[in-house]
């Protein structure tokens, strides 16, 4: 059974953005979850391979790595935070 391709907007922050080389990109993907999408993006951007994933938000709300991605979602990948 073919999984329909979803269109996902990705935003990279801080160290991730530098490793990805872009701040935002549009992925056409069949990744079921944000975790799968991150691994897919690590293949696309080899400099991301050395990073482990930390936090993410979907549509500006903090979200689970296992949450099912919906077509049109905006996914924000956050490196570990370091405020203060």
């Amino acid at each position: 059974m073919a999984i329909p391709v979803k269109v996902i907007e990705i935003k990279w922050f801080a160290a991730y953005r530098e490793a990805a080389g872009v701040a935002t990109e549009t992925a056409r993907t069949d990744a079921a979850t944000a975790a799968e999408l991150f691994v897919e993006m690590q293949r696309k951007h080899p400099a991301l391979a050395s990073f482990s994933a930390a936090l993410l938000a979907i549509n500006d709300e903090m979200a689970d790595w296992n949450r099912t991605l919906q077509d049109g979602d905006e996914v924000l990948f956050f490196p570990p935070v370091a405020g203060g």
Partner: protein, 156 residues
């Protein structure tokens, strides 16, 4: 972006006015006021630091910051709480974050101030890049921070 008349959480693009920040905490019912300032240090883990830059995801940082202040107000007997965090480029000794709490008694003010700065450091979507004397630069991780919002499994 700092508003000296209201309590709350802000992001500031330029130097924080410590005097205005302190004045917004004035209150005739408050016997205790505790202010924490986190400043740009000239060293970190043995390396000489020249300056640093903060990058924030502002919409979520503002929401999370306001939530932290609200939690502090619910947990501790305080009457005012405010915090401001810088973003962009900072020079040595500049304040990166200022937290202020006013309360009737000092126990609550100390506890709430500590709670707010700890949560800011762990939860705010904000990242710090340090520029070193040897010409290199690095994004700094909060090493003690287990990711409190990474519900479920994480890849990588």
């Amino acid at each position: 972006m700092i508003n000296s008349a209201t309590q709350g959480f802000w992001l500031a693009d330029s130097a924080i006015d410590a005097t205005a920040f302190r004045e917004q905490l004035g209150d005739e019912s408050c016997g205790a006021c505790v202010i924490f300032e986190g400043r740009v240090r000239n060293h970190n883990e043995g390396r000489a630091v020249l300056r640093l830059a903060y990058e924030a995801h502002a919409p979520m940082a503002l929401k999370e910051g306001a939530m932290i202040l609200q939690e502090a107000t619910q947990r501790f007997a305080i009457s005012k709480a405010a915090a401001v965090h810088r973003q962009g480029e900072l020079a040595l000794t500049e304040a990166a974050v200022v937290v202020g709490v006013a309360s009737a008694h000092r126990d609550a003010a100390f506890q709430a101030c500590r709670y707010i700065i700890d949560e800011i450091k762990h939860r705010l979507p904000i990242w710090k890049k340090e520029y070193y004397a040897d010409g290199t630069a690095e994004w700094v991780n909060c090493r003690q921070c287990a990711a409190p919002h990474a519900h479920g499994e994480t890849p990588g």
